[in-house]
């Protein structure tokens, strides 16, 4: 299957930061998560993917088309939600919506206004009077209303309360469930997003350090709870993020299939218990490991 978005050796240099040599091939019809700590380069990468800033080198092809020749055509089919949405701040929500709608070939106004009502974003309100969360909701509604095939979202749940966050995640889940619709989402927190992201990528200090399917990553990493002394020290030495407690210590196994056999006796005795690792824990362990 041809990738919906293909990136080759993408590099962007700033005086104090470099996003280095990123290559991606994103299949259609998936949710592609890009995670990493603050300052890792996620926003820079998302801007490059949505052609908001120029790259120093490398290429981006979307729907098999290069941005250089087909930017307008590509942007008609993508929805980009930046980390801090910038619109016409002094103008109303309605003005901004009409302005944006005039550029798109496809526009579903009724769906857009339904979403605004659902998100409780007033039409007549000046854009600058919206909260950060409302601005993001407006941008998401805009992205969903021109029948985009690809959504590029930078920290879409930042600044949202838990109810709105759930609403947004549900919307995104529905969007992704439609045939061939793809979402690329970047976030510094995995909260809620790990459930919908089928691919997990970890960006750290401008480099892509992990590219994996979520299920594959979760199968490789396991949290192990063990009674002190129940595991050979060599095995404990292979664990990361070890937290020692009086009765039961825990650690993360970074390659669980490789040590599974050595753990089986302990599991049988009840000295060792296994748990699925959380994505956050894996990413933190990777970050600290570096």
């Amino acid at each position: 299957m041809n990738p919906i978005l293909e990136v080759k050796n993408l590099t962007k240099k700033y005086h104090d930061f470099t996003l280095r040599d990123i290559s991606l091939a994103i299949p259609p019809g998936c949710v592609f998560g890009i995670f990493g700590p603050t300052g890792a380069g996620k926003t820079t990468l998302m801007k490059l993917l949505a052609r908001q800033i120029p790259a120093n080198s490398g290429s981006v092809r979307v729907f098999g088309l290069p941005y250089d020749d087909r930017e307008k055509e590509i942007k008609n089919r993508i929805g980009y939600v930046p980390q801090e949405p910038q619109f016409y701040q002094d103008r109303s929500v309605e003005f901004n919506a009409r302005f944006a709608a005039s550029f798109y070939e496809r526009w579903d106004g009724s769906s857009f206004y339904r979403m605004l009502e659902e998100f409780k974003v007033g039409r007549e309100k000046a854009f600058k009077r919206l909260s950060r969360g409302q601005k993001t909701l407006f941008a998401i509604a805009l992205g969903l209303s021109h029948e985009a095939d690809l959504l590029i979202l930078d920290e879409p749940t930042a600044g949202l309360d838990i109810i709105l966050r759930r609403t947004i995640l549900e919307r995104l889940r529905r969007f992704a469930a439609e045939e061939e619709k793809t979402i690329i989402v970047a976030s510094h927190v995995t909260d809620g997003l790990e459930d919908i992201a089928e691919y997990v990528n970890f960006l750290d200090n401008g480099k892509m350090v992990v590219q994996s399917e979520r299920d594959e990553l979760l199968a490789r990493w396991k949290r192990i709870h063990f009674r002190e002394g129940s595991l050979p020290p060599v095995l404990v030495g292979q664990l990361v993020d070890v937290r020692r407690q009086p009765f039961s210590s825990t650690g993360l196994a970074r390659d669980f299939p490789a040590i599974r056999e050595a753990l089986e006796a302990g599991i049988a005795r009840g000295d060792v218990k296994l748990e699925n690792a959380r994505l956050d824990d894996i990413l933190i362990a990777m970050h600290e490991g570096d």
Binding site: I53, E71, K72, K75, P82, Q86, A100, S102, F103, Y104
Partner: protein
Amino acid sequence: MSAVLRKSSFFFITHLCTFSIPPLAMLLERRNRGVLSVMALWVPVWLSSSILWSERQESYAFLRTLPVTDRQIVRTKFGLALGFAVTYWLILFLFIRGAWGSTPEYSGYMALAGLTCAVSLVLAGGWYIFSWRFGPSVLTAGVMAFVVIGVLATWIVDVRRMVSIGGIGTLAPRWLAEGPWIYQAVLFAIALAAYYGLMRLAVRVKEESETF
């Protein structure tokens, strides 16, 4: 692109109104025409100010998310400034004709109008590039400095004295004021060519710009 054009043209239209309505009233009331004689000098300031205000209200970060290319935006903005530079010239032409159509000063005033409109056009292209390269806040400082320098220069030239000795039209070079009409046409063509060159440069600057 018509949405960008409509939005940007608001400040150009309001500036044009403030430029043309007071002198029109003076002309119709047949009052002192001294002020009319300095109008041409104000075209670069008015056009620069139109660009400043429309750029300050622009949101290129928003535009970049929409299906429109930087090339289209640059062409629209440059087209708009060109259209208004020509409109300023036409207004000046009508005023000068109405006020001095049958006097010896007519050719001098017309030459000055042609010269200032040509300079305004090139200046407009420069302001756009300046804004896209350094951002609207730097543009504000640049245009404000230009306005202050413009006012000081006008004061130094001493408009009143110029009016009393034959009008501000004498500021235009003699070869342009007394030469054949083709000189002014060539002047406009040179300005247009420079403007086109600036537009091509502006596309590159805009595409590489990360200043929103």
